[in-house]
């Protein structure tokens, strides 16, 4: 290898290392470390606020609190298709998405439309004060009712 070739290789190599470093730096810079977003844990209030056999949407937190004869559970109100906020239609007994027409039953199971997955069940528990608490970041695989 001639001296010129050596320095060309060295130069190209250093630029490549610098480019990789820049890519890593940019990726880290563009990923915020702290998010000023609302907490995923929501206080859904006292259980007796919810009438038996009801589906209640809180549009601010995008969750449904469903009260059945057996107990309570929480459903995400975010459509699994493209993230629109769904709405409960009491006269039809279905949860419907206004964006692309997906429909779900009260258990979150898809009835029709483009949604690829059912609405996830969210972890729900009773706080020490007796409030229903929901963790929106925590979908549960095994469906369990909270008995009060």
């Amino acid at each position: 290898m001639s001296r010129r070739q050596f320095f060309v290789k060295l130069g190209v190599g250093s630029v490549a290392v610098a480019a990789l470093g820049t890519a890593a730096f940019s990726y880290q810079y563009l990923s915020p470390n702290v998010l000023y977003e609302p907490s995923p844990i929501v206080d859904a209030g006292k259980p007796d606020h919810y009438t038996p056999d009801s589906v209640t949407l809180d549009p601010q937190t995008a969750i449904y609190v469903v009260r059945t004869a057996g107990g309570f559970f929480a459903l995400s109100a975010i459509c699994t298709h493209l993230g629109c906020l769904t709405a409960y239609k009491p006269d039809l007994g279905v949860i419907a998405c206004p964006c692309h027409g997906s429909k779900f039953n009260k258990d979150g199971v898809k009835i029709e439309g483009p949604a690829p997955r059912p609405l996830p069940w969210l972890r729900m528990w009773l706080s020490d004060e007796g409030d229903l608490m929901v963790d929106r970041s925590n979908a549960i695989a095994i469906k369990q009712l909270v008995r009060v």
């Binding site: 990726y27 563009l30 990923s31 915020p32 998010l35 977003e37 493209l82 993230g83 629109c84 964006c99």
Partner: protein
Amino acid sequence: MANTLDQLIDQVRENRIWRSIFRGGTGDSNLHKSLLVQQNVFLHLFSIKARKRTLEFSATWYLGALTFGTFMILVITGVLLMLYYHPSVPQAYADMKDLQYVVSSGVFLRNLHRWSAHAMVFLVFAHMFKVFYRGAYRTPREFNWVIGVILLLLTLLLSYTGYLLPWDQLAYWAVTVGSNIASAVPLIGAKIRFLMLGGTAVNANALLRFYVLHCVILPLAAILFLAVHFWRIRKDGGIYAGDHSSEVSNQ
């Protein structure tokens, strides 16, 4: 009267300051006309000569030039709108309403910006269809077609990022849906969405990121690719005239 005016113009064009800026010199000869184009930083992107056929309306329907015209309207009205717009929650929505009802001519500028944006998307597609059906994308112009596709994507991204800025319900849900489409990319989809929005939901960070993309990054990229696009027309032998056999393949 006309003579004195001509003399005055000639005097201005021959004085030292003018000549130090415009080196082409005065005169009506072909050489001077060529130098005028060749020695101007903006005009030198274009050919110094054009076939008459390519300047006729039927050749191009002027779709490329019209697209560039809408782009210029968008840059000018966009810069003016920036003087009253704060990319923050919930100020953005209030500023948009102020532009409509409080700022003098605000509603005119906002509508001009909006309709030009719609027109630009339409014209870009029309331009591409015209180029495609005339066969003007063929050798030696295939690379300029690729640049054109990049410019199409930049146009769509500009429209998409601009859509969020009014911060109304339509904007919010359109970007919610759009960013969820991005998250459908295998493996890295969720990460792309996170970087795009600067968080997990369409929020203050997303508004600011879309604003910077819309007002700085994407327009700069568009101007860069536009310059290459125009320059390639010259390098590829001018606007396609239709008779493929007789044209110069490379200037």
